[in-house]
């Protein structure tokens, strides 16, 4: 199970340390790249240039930001709970790192192959909400408190559809081992069989990442950054490191589970660079979509957000799991099973879209235009000209 990362035998501890070092350095570089990328992409969406000053085309912007954040004073409010306040960033930060363990980048190129990889990732990822609530509670700030409660409510609500959608995929793939799931998609990626779980996964991922339109815990215009409102300097940057790392990991997961990861369309025979490139391209596409959504959509309100999770996504993901189970239990011939799975899931997706349309209603007709105002009384009578 423990594959050799470097192609030769080394001590287990040294191996672990090397892998850990690899994660940390990779994570830092990736997060810096993501921040730079996000700023550039969003700038283009807004007809701006984005960072240009630091280094060629602003490439060193993230480095400059990091230096600034490290150099900044680490302020703690006098009335904050010192332990809870100071420890909160770690509770957000560490679980994200732990998620990296199971993510497959390429064939035999992962930290650890876990039989229940999906479960592990989900279990670990939900720990970081503790950190959010700690940050909100420890700050002794009402905005932070409000944001933390929103974050907790949202994370719990969207954790369930996320789990159910991944379970549905796991059923189809016949495994919870991420590597096996990817390998099973050599011919056709899972998104074809399971478009509805992909949609649920994408939406729940946005919610888990607190990204627009689900960014109510940090909504700048409402709770002014939510749980982070009192943080500064290095601690604040840890929250953001965690946020972008989570973005990266969830995009990788989405690429691996739904888009065929490194396996589709090239297959296992192609070399490591190709597989890495495939993973990167797919994850990059998901990340680009997230940026695109972020730059376009307004924020939902808390009740709409809750209703969408509990009344739409969760029931429909249960139905998806149930339908998958029925199809798989009765074991129809392979091609019929495939068609059934895809059809049911596609129908579910259409249903979700219909529910969304229905809940919002039709656009209101254009405002009333009156060329002559309604009241016909001439105004001249009221005025006594001198």
């Amino acid at each position: 199970m423990n594959h050799d990362l470097f192609g030769f035998e080394i001590n287990v501890w040294a191996d672990a340390a090397a892998r850990l070092g690899l994660i940390v350095s990779l994570m830092t570089v990736v997060v810096m790249g993501l921040i730079y990328g996000e700023r550039k992409v969003i700038a283009r969406f807004q007809q701006r240039l984005g960072p240009t000053r630091t280094g060629p085309a602003g490439l060193l912007q993230s480095v400059a930001d990091a230096l600034k954040l490290v150099a900044k004073e680490d302020v703690r409010p006098k009335s904050a709970d010192p332990w809870v306040f100071e420890l909160a960033p770690y509770f957000v930060f560490v679980p994200i790192f732990l998620m990296f363990v199971a993510v497959p980048f390429a064939f035999h190129w992962e930290i650890r192959v876990l039989e229940l990889g999906i479960f592990y990732v989900l279990a670990v990822s939900s720990v970081n909400i503790v950190g959010w609530v700690m940050a909100g509670w420890g700050s002794d700030n009402r905005y932070a408190m409000l944001g933390a409660l929103r974050a907790a409510a949202q994370a719990i609500s969207y954790e369930l559809p996320l789990v159910m959608s991944l379970i549905a995929v796991g059923m189809v793939a016949d495994s919870f081992n991420l590597t096996d799931i990817v390998r099973g998609q050599g011919q056709v990626p899972n998104i074809v069989w399971q478009p509805l779980p992909f949609f649920i996964f994408f939406v729940a991922m946005l919610a888990e990442l607190n990204r627009t339109p689900f960014d109510i815990p940090v909504g700048e215009s409402e709770v002014v950054g939510g749980p982070f409102v009192e943080y500064s300097g290095i601690r604040w940057s840890m929250f953001f490191l965690a946020e972008y790392a989570a973005l990266f990991i969830l995009a990788l997961l989405g690429a691996a589970i739904f888009l065929g990861g490194w396996a589709w369309p090239l297959g296992e025979e192609w070399g490591l660079p190709w597989q890495l490139a495939l993973t990167a391209i797919k994850a990059g596409a998901i990340i680009f979509a997230i940026f695109w959504v972020r730059v376009t959509l307004p924020r939902l309100r808390i009740d709409q957000l809750m209703a969408f999770s509990w009344k739409v996504l969760l029931p429909i993901s249960f139905v998806q799991v149930l339908a998958n189970g029925l199809v798989l239990v009765y074991e129809p011939p392979q091609h019929i099973a495939d068609i059934l799975l895809a059809a049911i899931s596609g129908a579910g997706l259409v249903l979700v879209v219909m529910i969304m349309n229905r809940s919002v209603g039709k656009p209101r007709p254009r405002p009333v235009l009156t060329n002559r105002a309604a009241a016909a009384t001439p105004p001249a009578r009221s005025e006594a000209a001198r």
Binding site: Q47, T52, V353, N357
Partner: protein, 156 residues
């Protein structure tokens, strides 16, 4: 869902457009001729002295009282053996750029076209570390037009 897709389409179409950002300190937008930065005094090249006679018209008209004017007898006047036609001339002049609200009234009330609004970028970029440095005295106010850097626009 249609509306969401339409919005996404709008942002995507903007993605393809050319950015409108100007890289400000390196590339300045060309300023229109009428641009008003801060008032400065004009230099009469023919007589080699300021146009300003220190008549206090602008000082009295200034809504924020940012100007201080002192006049004196012109030593270069004909009666003193000089060439100038100005009997009185400006002695000392201060304008507090920090208080000036750039309303152009001083230019309008001036009978001698002796004061004008700077219409260059140097006129706008006046940041200093101390407010007192924004108080300009006569040589400073005259310097830019004297050197020919500025051609203020004065309404006909």
């Amino acid at each position: 869902m249609r509306g969401l897709l339409k919005s996404m389409g709008v942002t995507l179409s903007v993605f393809a457009r050319k950015p409108v950002t100007r890289q400000y300190p390196e590339t300045h937008r060309p300023l229109p001729e009428r641009d008003r930065a801060f008032p400065l005094l004009l230099w009469d090249e023919n007589l080699d002295e300021p146009f300003c006679t220190g008549c206090h018209a602008c000082e009295r008209a200034c809504p924020v009282e940012c100007m201080t004017v002192l006049m004196k007898d012109n030593p270069a006047h004909r009666s003193q053996g000089g060439t100038s036609t100005r009997r009185k001339i400006i002695d000392k002049f201060w304008i507090d750029y920090g208080r000036c609200m750039r309303c152009n009234i001083c230019v309008e009330v001036c009978n001698f076209d002796a004061i004008g609004m700077n219409n260059t970028w140097q006129g706008h970029e006046q940041s200093v570390y101390d407010r007192a440095d924004l108080i300009q005295d006569l040589p400073q106010l005259l310097a830019e037009h004297k050197a020919g850097d500025v051609k203020p626009w004065i309404a006909p």
